[in-house]
Symmetry: C2
Subunit: 461 residues, 2 copies
């Protein structure tokens, strides 16, 4: 069910009015989201290879979330959660229409335009919204960011290894402004700089009103590029070069906030979409596993939040939090109404961000899916890998105590049958709700599908 | 983009208020929709085989629409138009996710819950709504009638030849109440009677308020059944038996309206979803072609509308009208707001229904699609079949003058090159908008897809 434009208009008008009458406008949000950046890839999370002083300053002036989870080891499902506050299976974005991990160019599938994104939630409070960077939730027109609450878009619609250079049948990697391709193939070494310029422009133009800037970087996803100023300058090859350019970009944004005196009025959040890939040069240390897996290294990502005067400075929060919490948390902070007509998996973690004494993780359990399969469950300090068959091998249940054993090295299932049983019951509940391999969940919602997808190309259609 | 429940509630409340303040409530709507009933299959459209006195009485007391079109020669796309007021390609319901003509059981695809159906439009005016019969717009829970504006549902979710008896891998043909299977396999000879009882119950319970009853019959789709009272009683085998039982059903409904003194407050519309199949016993006379084709026999269907005191009695209207017009027309008559945030292909034909002098078809052109392919265009009296390749045969453009040659027997393209050119330009515009084989349209919207469809079964999930 949807509402009609007449009503939307009324709603938007009254929201604007609300803002005008408020004594203080709600804060801006800037969400910097890297692609395949590992848990150990920035200084404030332990990297000794990469120089990331500006990202580290976010940690000094804000909070490190050390148990912050993406909902998937790969890009498309991860982003579907960030946008909707839901597990990927909830919104049927856990795999492509062909059963692949992520969407490929000219995909028939995309995030259902009927889903309510964090951008739409903030739009309802009168926020200016922009998406600058990699989208990857569908490349057909009805699936683009401009149809999901973003007033403007500059970026690539899917991963940077999906151009014609990688697969001949694919179109050249397109750079889009709103719904038009403005460059193809785009020169990838210019991307981080172009995104940053666009971000600065958007912040400057909207400095007088609440805004939401979603900045999903293209790197350090392979193939790796950096602009001339950064190429060959890091101690970790092109991987490090691209990370250090992202740090520079973050610095430019922070400097602009200072210049415009927006520091205290802006929540800056920095995170990644999943762990580093296994052979790209990244590090998930001290975690086990890589991008794509349900080991911690696949899904626990670095996350820092700065909001001077509200989020305490220089602190660490180890409570379980996730990208699904972004929508409800931003809604709560902004005073917007999160959707109430559907299940939202995320929770408002603003009490944790404020450092409220007694604030705990709102997640009784966190569920790790690999495509359509529920593979693991975190419950407090415990993580249970469920029994399953993989590559013709029978894997038994394995229990890890993440408080003592963050690297998932020692299976303690035999010593804690009660914990195993408790978590298996949680898994069973999740299966009924969200589904599992070969099993439909009771509360899944449909993705969108276009039977006649077309290529995004430079001229005309 | 969607609105939130808080707003929906407000809207619903204010609509109810509107109704309370109105001097006279808007009329009820009953839409009886047959499955595969041909143009020449009822008495008032020329059948001499079938006794259909009660359907014929609708024509005596109301209007026959003799150029009324379904948007497809088959079921799923046809119904997607009836519900949304749009061509099937607009809402990506022109074929299944596997490229088949219609949806099959455990279909991954369904009408996007984000689409606004005629039931949702009428709900916004406070109407009680029920769907009784065959749905066929998706069998997964998020696609069922109960998620598309119908407060209750009793019926089969897809065609009656899709049970386990026809294909072993399919579940037994389920009869559903709302979202639960209550009988499987359902005894098909009971269906028309059960539907009719349910319709009578709904009408009776809602006699004090505006209601919308959508009654999509299961027959005369194959396999053919009729209850004992009708079996073997017609002059046309089981086909005729099933049609005559539908006539009986229509009569019971009309009698109930009379009994409840609702005649003048109820718009009754009777139509079919496409032409009769080629070997089922039905008749599309005097039209050429059968179910599935873009000849008139595939898509022009019998249609009668009765609304005593408003629609003139015993008249015929030959203006081009279509199932896509149902949503805008019912919206206009009820005083509801049709969607304004998206393209709707249908038009308000209430001026034609009222018999307004000077009222003409609001359709400059009508487009005939076969799956994803634009095959023909009607423009006033003319119908152009576009050039195409079919079964390795090259078919040239062919032009028919339907006013003189309703059977499409004489190609007059050579004599009217100007008409051909004019219609080809209309076709070109349609292609850019809605697409054609191998060509995406600029204004298509996505269907819904569930990657993990499950069977609808009697017990539990």
């Amino acid at each position: 069910m949807r509402l009609f434009v007449a009503l939307v208009t009324t709603f938007a008008a009254s929201s604007a009015l609300l803002l005008a009458q408020d004594e203080e406008p709600p804060p801006n949000f800037i969400l910097i989201y890297c692609d395949d950046l590992g848990y150990g890839d920035v200084g404030c999370f332990g990297s000794e290879k990469h120089r990331t002083p500006r990202i580290d300053s976010l940690a000094t002036e804000g909070m490190r979330l050390t148990s912050f989870y993406s909902t998937s080891g790969v890009c498309t499902p991860s982003r579907s959660s960030l946008m909707t506050g839901c597990y990927p299976r909830r919104v049927n974005m856990h795999q492509s229409a062909q059963g692949e991990w992520v969407l490929f160019p000219v995909a028939r599938k995309g995030l259902n335009p009927g889903e309510i994104t964090v951008a739409e939630v903030l739009r309802s409070r009168g926020y200016a919204t922009a998406c600058v960077g990699k989208w990857h939730l569908g490349d057909q027109p009805p699936f683009l960011p401009t149809r999901q609450g973003f007033q403007s878009y500059l970026g690539i619609p899917y991963s940077n290894d999906m151009g014609a250079r990688q697969r001949k049948k694919n179109p050249p990697l397109p750079l889009m402004r709103d719904e038009r391709v403005i460059d193809a193939p785009v020169k990838q070494d210019t991307l981080t700089k172009r995104y940053t310029d666009e971000a600065i422009r958007f912040i400057t133009e909207n400095r007088e009103r609440p805004f939401f800037l979603y900045l999903p970087h293209t790197f350090p996803h392979l193939p790796l590029y950096a602009s001339e100023s950064f190429l060959g300058k890091s101690a970790n090859g092109r991987y490090g070069d691209s990370v250090e350019e992202i740090d520079w970009s973050t610095g430019r944004i922070l400097d602009k906030l200072t210049e415009l005196k927006l520091d205290r009025r802006t929540v800056v959040m920095f995170a990644s979409d999943n762990g580093a890939a296994s052979r790209a040069g990244g590090s998930n240390a001290p975690l086990r596993g890589h991008k794509g897996s349900t080991w911690e290294g696949g899904m626990r990502v670095p996350c820092v939040v700065r909001w001077p005067g509200v989020v305490p400075a220089g602190v660490e929060c180890d409570a379980v939090t996730s990208t699904i919490d972004v929508l409800p948390t931003f809604a709560a902070i902004s005073g917007a109404q999160a959707p109430t007509d559907r299940v939202i998996d995320g929770k408002d973690i603003s009490p944790l961000l404020r450092g409220d004494s007694g604030a705990v993780s709102p997640h009784g359990a966190f569920f790790y899916y690999f495509k359509d399969q529920l593979q693991a469950v975190r419950h407090g300090r415990w993580k249970l890998h469920l029994a399953r068959t993989e590559k013709k091998k029978e894997l038994p249940v394995r229990l890890y105590d993440l408080d003592r054993d963050i690297a998932e090295s020692t299976d303690v299932a035999a010593a804690h049958p009660d914990v195993v049983a408790r978590i298996q019951a949680l898994a069973e509940g999740c299966r009924g709700d969200l589904g599992d391999r070969g099993l439909r969940g009771a509360h899944q919602r449909p993705a969108g599908i276009m039977e006649d997808p077309g290529q995004l190309t430079l001229l005309g259609r």
